[in-house]
Symmetry: C2
Subunit: 420 residues, 2 copies
């Protein structure tokens, strides 16, 4: 009979968000009267702004006309959007030909696995978005799962990020070997945004060890401080050692529309000197077929002056939520928290003695609020939870009220909630 | 330094359609005055019909409203479209939960490679659509390329299909072992459509050898004879041994919109008894993120009575082209040809002594028409060319006139074209 790809049996537990969905469903079934508020997954909720929506609508409408109809996309998507991205987001540091459009960052991050040899060393931040690890496992780049390790695998190097090291890995402690090094900034889940100095160290480390950095900038739009890099290519030398993924999902609310891109500079090479770009082209032409023409037209609308203004309006909207949550959780009740300044996630330390899942269960049971247990992102996330800021202002205001009430009761008598 | 995935170096030449694009470009650059007609790739050209286009447009417009906005899709897409597909296309032979929506067949066919162990035996028809082979090579399921073999690879079993065996593989000649067996009906490129008797043999062979069939029905809409199966699940027992991919690309002209699906019955198992469905779910949840919400709404519109009628109108439109081409190539000039009855491809035998690329070059040089050389689909395609029927009626009428003129000259004096 047909043999299962051996790597599947290595995969531990189920994908974090699936587990949460199950707990959520059980709660809703048991409490049909309670209005659940989701501050869990980073899913956008606000309608698309006018000119971006018009870009999509006009493209869809145009497909009904001979002049507006288009068939198969090019393997890398259309030139106009690639040019706009190269100019507006990279200031020309990468060429339009080095920008490859796709249906999103996550699929690109996984397709990328096919580029690298099986024996390659994968390095990820801990805590981190699970797709880098799950994608690596399925692609056979790791060893077995390590029991009771918060989802760790043999063969992956976990670069621990925590308040002690300002959420930037202690690179000098890493074994000096060649890695495919996944790095996410602004970080999901911690919200940490790497500085120019930190990224300069990262690029230097990659050059020294002849590694390739895969830099995930899905949250680039939330950086409000211009001194913080929005792209790894702002660092000198990065063109030789880094690919970069990004997405319109959080940028303009295209989580459901599906549009993203990967930058693959022609300077990135394998050990034997072949260009990574050539293989990426092959992968994208074989394992993919170009982004949806409608989504692409929406992306192009978003890159025009009116769209850029709308984009920044959406970002401000969600960042207002971060402030609302921070005010009640940090300012009023004194919890320790990170992020929420240049990222739409608030990374909150649970009260002493509580685990991530304890805190998740408490929030669900006491507040009917869904959040994300930090340990789901890695061992360094234990004792933390992630609040996502993508709900509506109304929901977040109501959530803040419930959180305030609950924390007030909790602070008065923590022991009453010991069993949670 | 980072090691290249070894399998990339095995890939031979460039993807067929890329080569053609280069020849085409060279011709256009050298003959800027000539109006090129493409009967090459199977890319749709006709505007979307009204109600299907309205489905897309309304969804796009709706994203600008709170009620119409939606974020991340489910891993398998929306229930409404899965239910419609289960009912309309499978008559309930597969459940809505076994239908998994995606951005197209080709990406699904390639993602599928991650399911099966590296040592699995891949079997493909020859000639056949190149993605099965290229996807298998990149995924490491094959040995090295075989020089001067029309793109064959060690470790792949090529099931030869030609007029002698009515384009159905001689299964009794195949070694009795377990395969992942890719089968395309109606076939791209030959246009051959397997009969119920043939598919019954195929399913019996899969059961006997404990193989898994991957059945590609991208051209299902072009079957006009109801006695020919449009799905492998019309064959008893297929639920245990077959996955099926399909697409809205050719069905309703969504080549650029991007929408397809894979059926994975829960009865399909690996050697060790695990359900293939569970891994497919994991793959689609990790390596993919659901189809575009706009595309999905368009697909749902296509499944309503008005959309189904429009779909059949589009199919008739393209099949009229097949008739036009057949009339001049077969009826008038007596060429041997297959397909074009239940498929939008005409598979034409080149004149004696001419190779596929000879015929390609002649058609480009003498008629300014782009077709596809049969040998690009495998060794059994040598001496054939594929005419795609996806152009407009006007283009096809003009192409038929040019072909008529050229074939008249050619038949009068073949030696005059010997150097081509």
């Amino acid at each position: 009979m047909v043999v299962r790809k051996e790597h599947f049996s290595k995969l531990q537990a189920s994908y974090l968000f699936v587990n949460i969905a199950q707990k959520r469903k059980a709660f809703v079934d048991a409490n049909p009267d309670k209005k659940l508020i989701s501050l869990g997954i980073g899913d956008t909720t606000q309608p698309l702004p006018e000119s971006i929506c018009a870009g999509l609508t006009n493209a869809a409408k145009g497909l009904g006309t001979q002049a507006g109809y288009s068939g198969y996309p090019d393997w890398n998507g259309g030139a106009a959007l690639r040019e706009a991205i190269s100019k507006e987001f990279y200031n020309g540091l990468v060429s339009p030909d080095e920008v490859i459009l796709s249906d999103g960052s996550k699929p690109d991050l996984c397709r990328m696995q096919a580029l690298f040899g099986d024996g390659v060393n994968i390095a990820v931040q801990d805590p981190v978005y699970p797709a880098y690890v799950d994608g690596s496992v399925i692609a056979g780049k790791t060893g077995k799962g390590i029991p009771e390790s918060s989802g760790r695998y043999e063969g992956i190097t976990y670069m621990e990020c925590n308040p002690e090291n300002s959420f930037f890995p202690d690179l000098e402690k890493l074994e000096k070997k060649s890695y495919v090094l996944f790095f996410c900034s602004p970080n999901n889940p911690t919200g940490a945004t790497a500085t120019k100095e930190q990224l300069t160290k990262l690029v230097a480390f990659a050059k020294e060890t002849q590694s390739i950095i895969v830099f995930d900038t899905a949250y680039r739009a939330f950086i409000t401080d211009d001194s913080l890099p929005r792209s790894i290519y702002e660092i000198e030398g990065a063109r030789e050692v880094a690919m970069e993924t990004s997405s319109f999902s959080k940028l303009v609310g295209f989580t459901g529309v599906r549009l993203g891109w990967t930058v693959c500079p022609t300077d990135v090479k394998y050990e034997t000197g072949e260009s990574v770009f050539d293989d990426w082209k092959r992968i994208m032409g074989t394992y993919f077929n170009g982004p949806s023409n409608i989504a692409e037209a929406g992306g192009l609308a978003a890159m025009q002056p009116a769209g850029m203004k709308e984009m920044s309006g959406l970002v401000s909207y969600y960042m207002q939520n971060a402030k609302t949550l921070r005010d009640v959780i940090v300012k009023k009740h004194g919890f320790e928290a990170f992020g929420g300044d240049h990222s739409p996630y608030l990374w909150v330390k649970a009260p002493t003695g509580k685990t991530s899942w304890d805190m998740f269960d408490l929030m669900l049971k006491e507040c009917a609020i869904v959040i994300t247990p930090g340990v789901g992102f890695g061992s360094q996330g234990e004792g933390y939870v992630r609040f996502s800021c993508f709900a509506s202002h109304e929901s977040v205001a109501e959530a803040a009220g419930r959180i305030d009430d609950f924390f007030t009761k909790y602070m008065a008598d923590p022991a009453a909630f010991a069993g949670a």
